[in-house]
Symmetry: C2
Subunit: 206 residues, 2 copies
DNA sequence: TGCATTGGTAAGGAGTCCTATCCATACTGC
DNA sequence: GCAGTATGGATAGGACTCCTTACCAATGCA
């Protein structure tokens, strides 16, 4: 019998194939394929540079340029100048793109439904394990930094005595627990390296 | 803050992008792309019909036919007649294909490494949650039946009193625990529906 | 025997994603 | 102030995925 790790990797691959198949169906109404749908969903939350998108999706900048071009050609997005750097451009959704992203976000998805159907304890354990997994990958520099709480300047780990809700988000001003930790938050702003390292230590200390 | 389910789905997407990127690198030495590598790894365990492969990977039979053709054209696989049905063909690896699959299986992969680096408790919780997730998807008929213990005729759930190793595999003749449950076993043989349902009940009863 | 079903391929087209190359802006040191 | 280098990005050419539609052949049921 081979190891747990292989079984887990196998499960991840199965689930991602299902998600991709679901995105084919969901995007078909708009003439979007899975890749375009993912990019659109991403920039609908916050416009990004092509290079950031390429890093996020794990493709070359050239490939991302292709995909963005087809999104632009279909009228779902536009390239706009980035005020911070005149070499750069941000990819932003058009009105039509925002509407499509909204519908995509609410489209039924078998995997998400199955996650919802999971017992609460399993779901929390799953999220916790995945957060640790992604942190490990970040520390091994295998995955680009995400918009996750652990790297956000608004995050205050273990700031409260309440064991159920020890953390604090200074942006929205609420206490929350491990189960509500975000891996991808629209309000994320990167923390300075020193602060991020301190947060990590404080988070692990609990 | 949006729900846990969305965060989990986000994590799954991130990890699958990473796996795919890793497969590009791993397969590059052989002239294999990620899709071809996945198919090859699959048939190396056990030859399968194109329709089964298409269902497994969530693509249309026509697409699978394309991919198999390119695998055949490169000499990694061959189509052979299926004795059980003269319409059908099985896709089997060539000697070269088996060797490539062997090297692919041992190629370093950041995600697998990170899973290994996870604390044992997290890893077990992750696998357990994923098995439940996939079972839920099977029952919702969103995912084709896998080669998992729960649907195998060699599986004897809760056959032993040992709490750590309650299950039994009649094929290899060993007792094992939840942590060693397989989602994709090369020795899998589907159990009759009646037996599978009984196994499910017996498994859940524990 | 007749016909729907199932396994599979062929053709045509959109799009992904690669490598390689090139352009423009931005930093860096003298 | 200006070369040299780094960075953000687009373009070109090519391999390939994956789709839809259409078609053939074996199968299985009425």
């Amino acid at each position: 019998m081979s190891g747990q790790a292989d079984q887990i990797a196998f499960a991840l691959d199965r689930l991602s194939a299902l998600r991709r198949a679901g995105r084919w169906r969901a995007g078909a109404d708009f003439g979007l394929n899975p890749t375009q749908g993912e990019i659109l969903s991403r920039i609908a939350v916050r416009p990004e540079r092509a290079a950031e998108l390429a890093a996020h999706f794990g493709v070359t900048p050239a490939s991302m340029s292709d995909s963005v071009s087809s999104l632009v050609a279909k009228g779902f997005a536009a390239r706009e100048p980035d005020p911070a750097d005149r070499r750069a451009q941000r990819v932003a959704p058009s009105a039509k793109g925002r509407e499509a992203a909204r519908q995509l976000a609410t489209a039924p998805d078998a995997v998400t439904a199955a996650i919802h159907a999971l017992p609460g304890r399993d779901r929390a354990a799953l999220l916790a394990a995945l957060i640790r997994l992604i942190r490990g990958l970040q520390e091994a520099r295998a995955i680009p930094v995400q918009r996750m709480c652990l790297t956000c300047r608004h995050f205050r780990p273990n700031a409260h005595d309440d064991a159920a809700r020890p953390h604090h988000c200074a942006f929205v001003g609420v206490a929350f627990g491990d189960a509500d930790l975000r891996l991808d938050c629209g309000d994320h702003e990167p923390a300075p390296a020193r602060e991020a390292a301190a947060n990590r230590r404080r988070f692990d200390a609990a």
